[in-house]
């Protein structure tokens, strides 16, 4: 039977929390099982939605085009990599001039360096140019989503339990991050 496939939610994560994330795993054992990244506040993400400012872009590909873009939110930087397997997204990156507000739907990806540090980046599914109002709305929404997760961190939800076990997060840091992001918006 054709299964009733459920689409993964696009989580809202600030760059700072995304950078702090390093627990990546598969749900299930076969090769098609989805890959997840668990963040310190307990978001188990397979897809994310980001709105930020493109500050730099560079074609780091040798043969084919392979774009690395830096997209900034009030808390830090997301690294976005788009190549031949993300043709639509790569085309947008190739065409836009920085700075520009971009909305990105993508998959989290992790890379382990030689010294064992885990770096996170985003593999875009689609990228679109948006206006400042959309960016502001994203900041507010992401602050709210982050606060909801922080408020649930002591619950017995399996993702919260696992996040606490792995990161032993000081959630006050993320509370302050969300608060500062909102403040920044209000003064600007």
């Amino acid at each position: 039977m054709a299964s009733q496939y459920t689409r993964e939610v696009s989580y809202r994560i600030f760059a700072q929390e995304f950078r702090d994330s390093n627990l990546s795993f598969k749900d299930g054992s076969d090769q098609y099982s989805p890959q997840y990244l668990l963040t310190p506040t307990g978001a188990k993400i397979n897809r994310m939605f980001i709105v930020g400012t493109l500050t730099e872009k560079e074609d780091i590909g040798t043969d084919a085009e392979y774009w690395r873009a830096r997209v900034v939110d009030p808390t830090g930087v997301f690294l976005i990599y788009a190549g031949q397997f993300q043709p639509e997204a790569a085309r947008v990156v190739a065409e836009v001039e920085s700075p520009q507000y971009l909305a990105i739907v993508g998959k989290p990806s992790t890379y382990q360096t030689e010294d064992g540090t885990i770096l996170t980046s985003v593999r875009p599914e689609n990228i679109h140019v948006v206006d400042p109002a959309t960016r502001d709305r994203w900041v507010v929404e992401t602050a709210q989503c982050t606060m909801e997760r922080i408020n649930n961190i002591d619950s017995n939800h399996p993702d919260a339990v696992r996040a606490k076990e792995h990161y032993q997060p000081d959630v006050s840091i993320y509370r302050k991050m969300a608060f500062d992001a909102l403040k920044d918006l209000n003064s600007g």
Binding site: M1, A2, Q4, T6, R7, E8, V9, S10, Y11, R12, R47, F49, V51, L102, A103, I104, V105, E125, N126, I127, H128, V129, V130, P132, A133, T134, D136, R137, W138, V140, E141, T142, A143, Q144, C145, M147, E148, R175, A178, F179, L182, K183, L185, N186
Partner: protein, 410 residues
């Protein structure tokens, strides 16, 4: 398991006045089942036959004479492997799919209907659709929790001349009443949506609704039933309920029937609103072609039901809206799509003709809509909101931000 079967067998023989030691029955059963891996049912049979021979018991003596067999109503049949008599009318005869089956179909009485199978080897008279009979010594059976009766060599069939049996055919139910699977029902409903079939075994799939709600339906390709048309109302007879992941659906198979009804059944729905970012516009959006006969969207110019046809253009948007917590599929029909994009169907056709590519329309819509925030509202049908209003969200108010800051500070 062996103990149980052994006990059953012994009781049967006891009733007839023959005493057979437990141990003997158990030894034989154990050998068949454990040593020779014979299925329990077959072992049961084999042991009974063995002792009939061994003790020289006439078969007629042992197998239920009709006096013993209870006459039951169809709704009373709730166990398998029971000998019963029933008075019933032949409601439907189906095509036998195997030479070992002489006739197969549906019989019914005042309490319901049940499938019957008449074995070729039973050598019984031919049953005629619409006629009533007394079926003696038939045995009950079950398959995937559905009961049936089998007519074999010990069964007898007698005509009932007066057609007294008023068959309670399959009950006609409302959609909200469907709460068990594997039940045969009739449903009066309107086709709310046809979806794209994802498998060749599925003729049509979509959503039907009545006053009480909506439910998914699947019409198997093998059912050879007429095509359902979106927006039309039907009496769907003899459909089977099913469930998957706690959600119910109905299946239409070879024994189902479809009758169009004249009335326009109103679909009861709940109006919902959803606010979030549009994170994707799915394939099958923008300028599409539909089959002129059944209205389903063509895939590469081919209709799943009617093959290659001259399609009729339509405009629609299948948008995925997401608020970071849950995903909401949203469907914008031609009218709403035209209004929100400012592209009329004719303009869309023109764009596609200029570019020699139908996909320019979806690309243009994606470029304008994906990544931005919207509020959509409309009736919710299954996993879709059928959007009747879509509003882009403007700049967020400072007061709103302040209210949220106040919450965070606590």
């Amino acid at each position: 398991m062996i103990k149980d079967i052994s006990k059953q067998i012994q009781e049967r023989f006891n009733q007839k006045g023959y005493t057979i030691p437990d141990s003997e029955i158990e030894t034989r059963l154990d050998k068949l089942i454990n040593e020779f891996k014979v299925p329990a049912e077959e072992a049961h049979r084999s042991v009974v036959n063995f002792f009939l021979k061994e003790y020289n018991i006439p078969r007629e003596d042992f197998f239920p004479a009709q006096g013993d067999t209870p006459t039951v109503q169809i709704s009373d049949i709730d166990t398998d492997n029971k000998w019963v008599n029933i008075r019933a009318k032949v409601v439907q005869l189906w095509d036998s799919e195997h030479e070992s089956i002489d006739q197969v179909g549906l019989v019914g009485d005042e309490t319901g209907t049940i499938k019957f199978t008449k074995w070729t080897r039973a050598d019984l008279p031919k049953l005629v659709e619409g006629k009533s009979y007394l079926f003696k010594n038939v045995v009950t059976d079950s398959y995937e929790e559905r009961f049936s009766i089998k007519m074999n060599r010990t069964s007898q069939i007698e005509d009932i001349n007066d057609d007294i049996i008023e068959v309670e055919l399959v009950p006609t139910v409302e959609i909200s009443d469907i709460d068990t699977d594997n039940k045969w029902v009739n449903v009066r409903a309107k086709v709310a949506q046809l979806w794209d079939s994802e498998h060749e075994s599925i003729g049509q799939v979509g959503l039907i609704g009545d006053q009480t709600g909506t439910i998914k339906f699947t019409k198997w390709a093998k059912s050879e039933l007429p095509a359902l048309v979106e927006g039309k109302s039907y009496l769907l007879k003899n459909v089977v309920t099913d469930s998957y992941d706690g959600r119910f659906s109905i299946k239409m198979n070879k024994t189902s029937q479809i009758e169009e009804v004249n009335e326009d059944i109103e679909i009861g729905t709940t109006e919902v609103e959803f606010i979030g970012a549009m994170v994707d516009i799915q394939a099958g959006s923008g300028l599409i072609k539909r089959c002129p006969e059944c209205n389903r969207a063509l895939i590469k110019g081919v209709c799943g039901e009617h093959g290659k046809v001259e399609g009729v253009y339509d405009l629609r948007i299948k948008a995925v809206i997401d608020d970071g917590r849950s995903v909401q599929d949203s469907l914008l029909n031609r009218e709403i799509s035209e209004r929100v994009t400012g592209i009329t169907l004719d303009e869309a056709i023109h764009m596609a003709t200029e570019a020699l590519d139908q996909s320019v329309v979806i690309e243009k819509i994606k470029g304008e809509f994906v990544g931005k925030y919207y509020s959509v509202s409309g009736p919710k049908l299954d996993r879709y909101i059928l959007v009747d209003t879509i509003t882009p969200l403007g700049p967020i108010e400072n007061s709103e931000i302040e209210a949220i800051i106040a919450q965070v500070e606590v």
